[in-house]
């Protein structure tokens, strides 16, 4: 199948390409990508008019929870894949904190098979660091690597045992496999950020140091072993500072920031709305500014959603009793675009780098995150010229636990192409 996308603004950080141009797709690969006047369409070429829209490499989300197996009432690989392409994501990386956890090659194969059966976004599994996510013994990392995991993580929980973490880092190095960590010292227990607002609201606070202590631990471990560490959902200003410092010392560290941490703060919890409860919690405005600084200056490598679906009943409870997490794939582009490009003047090129080029690099996906000829034809066509209000009723995800309902935003996905095929059309 052949496709020609015309009249759009090509933005491809991998080639430093930005401007009016065209894109040619053939047999699931990018055939040609160039600026300037589009050539005449071939007879067997389907033409897509991207007038007024950006044409960028497909977005890649390094952090989603698809809940399958085990919690299919919250989300499935199918509903999550639909949400992904509706949000412009052609590739998603799912976390292993399912029930049972993805700690064995058979489960890795299940995720891959089901992802392919659904056939929307590329679904890439991660495996747990520890068996049963119990934080005690290493999982069969090598076996899972062979089956196709792209990283190991115990996400949902941190690896509290530093000895185990150092062994995991050392072991994963053999496969050049990425270790991801949810940084949190679980001895600090709270349901929001500790600070003025937790004091005011009478909610138990989790201090920023709960995250920063483990983040620094992970940097130290990676520095010592020489392994690659990816710090998940960094939420504090000091965290950004420590990543910047570690990078300057040559530690193989990368990190992600979520759309919600860059756009919301602990002050938003005043209504006790459980859709603002997640881990790590929303931090202070000062932290938020530092996250934006890190996103702007290159310290932060990518935007990841930590898409965490819960049922309506799960979340419609007392704040303390509500589970952590919010959905994010269908709001990632508008929230990030509005926060970073509209409010903070980030170049669109940098935004695309954060949402596609860099996540591909972190996962060593050579054929993704780029519109270069020969790359996989994963393409997102999106526009940002009109303001609209987020409406969760229209979401493809099974879940509605979203703090952005009714928020005025810019940035809308028009078309998501995966492997040369249109998988979503607005």
């Amino acid at each position: 199948m052949k496709t020609l996308i015309i009249n759009g603004t090509i933005v491809d950080p991998s080639q430093k390409l930005e401007g009016k141009g065209y894109l040619r797709i053939e047999d699931g690969k990018i055939k040609e990508c160039a600026l300037g006047e589009a050539p005449k369409a071939l007879n067997d070429e389907k033409v897509i008019d991207a007038k007024g829209a950006y044409v960028t490499p497909g977005f890649i989300d390094l952090h989603v929870h698809l809940r399958e197996p085990g919690q299919e009432s919250k989300e499935t690989i199918e509903s999550g894949s639909n949400a992904a392409v509706a949000g412009g994501f052609s590739t998603i990386v799912c976390m292993p904190n399912t029930i049972p956890p993805i700690d064995h090659v058979s489960l890795v194969k299940f995720i891959l098979l089901e992802g392919k059966r659904v056939g929307k976004a590329n679904v890439l599994p991660t495996g747990t660091i520890s068996k049963g996510r119990a934080g005690e013994e290493l999982s069969e990392i090598g076996e899972m690597y062979k089956a196709g995991i792209v990283a190991i993580t115990d996400d949902g929980s941190p690896v509290m045992n530093s000895f185990l973490m150092s062994r995991a880092s050392e072991y994963a190095k053999m496969f050049d496999l990425l270790v991801m960590d949810h940084c949190e010292d679980i001895n600090f227990k709270g349901s929001m950020n500790e600070g003025f607002y937790s004091t005011k609201l009478g909610l138990r606070g989790t201090p920023s140091i709960s995250e920063e202590i483990m983040l620094m631990r992970d940097i130290l471990v990676a520095g010592y072993t020489g392994g690659r560490i990816h710090l998940q959902h960094v939420s504090t200003g000091l965290g950004i500072y420590m990543v910047r410092d570690a990078k300057s010392r040559g530690v193989k560290v990368t990190c992600e920031v979520t759309p919600h941490h860059m756009s919301l703060t602990d002050a938003d919890l005043e209504t006790y709305d459980t859709n603002f409860k997640m881990s790590p919690p929303l931090r202070t405005e000062k932290d938020r500014q530092k996250l934006i600084e890190g996103l702007m200056d290159g310290t932060v490598d990518c935007i990841a959603t930590d898409h965490a679906p819960h049922t309506y009943t799960n979340k419609d409870v007392e704040f303390d009793n509500a589970p952590n997490g919010i959905i994010g794939m269908e709001t990632a582009l508008p929230v990030s675009y509005t926060t970073l490009v509209k409010e903070n003047k980030m170049p669109v090129m940098r935004l695309v780098e954060l949402m596609s080029t860099n996540p591909a690099k972190i996962l060593r996906l050579k054929a993704k995150g780029s519109l270069k000829a020969g790359s996989d034809a994963d393409v997102t066509v999106w526009s940002a010229d009109t303001e609209y209000k987020i409406d969760t009723a229209a979401f493809k995800s099974k879940a509605r636990n979203c703090p952005f309902q009714g928020k005025s935003v810019y940035g809308k996905v028009n078309l998501t192409i995966v492997g040369g095929e249109v998988k979503y059309e607005a």
Binding site: L201, G202, T313, D316, V317, D320
Partner: protein, 313 residues
Amino acid sequence: MPWTKKDLLGLEKLTAEEITIILDTAKAFSQIATRSIKKVPALQGKTVVNLFFEPSTRTRVSFEVAEKRLSADIVNVNIAASSVTKGETLLDTVKNLCAYRIDAIVVRHSCAGVPHYLAENIEPSIVNAGDGMHEHPTQALLDIYTLREKFGDLKGLKVAIVGDISHSRVARSNIWGLQKLGAKVTVVGPSTLMPREIEKMGEGVEVSYDLPATLKKVDAVNMLRIQREREQQVQFPSLREYARYFGLSTKLIDQTPESLIVMHPGPINRGVELSGTVADGPRSVILQQVTNGLAVRMAVLFLVTGGTKISEE
């Protein structure tokens, strides 16, 4: 200015005028308690549910007596938060009660924000009888009522609140209420039990770790009950050491100005935060607080259910 609110969720969102309306209404009700027939028909035909998810004797009894004196029909529902029927949510429980067309719910819950959550989701008036570490507005109102009785105007009055400020809803409600009426608050306690950035709760708020020095400068001291449960073991070393630094002993009270009054929301840990002699001594207004609590709760229930003027018969 008349009272317009359907709920009493906390003191943070009330104005000084609204607090004054409650206090003035309570004053009128307090006279009823001195009569031989102590009942008024103000809430006749109305149903009030006392919904307690946390064990409480004092607050629940106080509300219950207040409701009876107002001639309300009362339903007491005590549910241990742990034994809420599996699968049923808090909202299910409360909506079931609402199906009886009740008029008000007095709610206590160990989770902060529960009264706000209910008020957003149901029709009847909600009175917060304590939500987690957040607010306990009627307790603060009775504390303030007691102070007003002793000192008149609260402008410029200095009040110390002593104890586990972190976990105290009484402290938070007092901080909001006292500041709105122009009083200044010094919170005193171990640094591990002092919530972060509490001084940002207002210009009148000061933090101190020195009880003797603070007591020399204040007009009233509110001693909070100190508990040392399992999770508190890393917060401070022992009750003995706590009492040494933050307990109000006979010796310490003797070093304070004669006019200083001692309050306590009860129940008292005698010999820990407060010596028995001080609790029973001339500076203590603890039992007056209890009496005032009744009038304050009558006033609150009366106002939130739409009462405007207290009928004589």
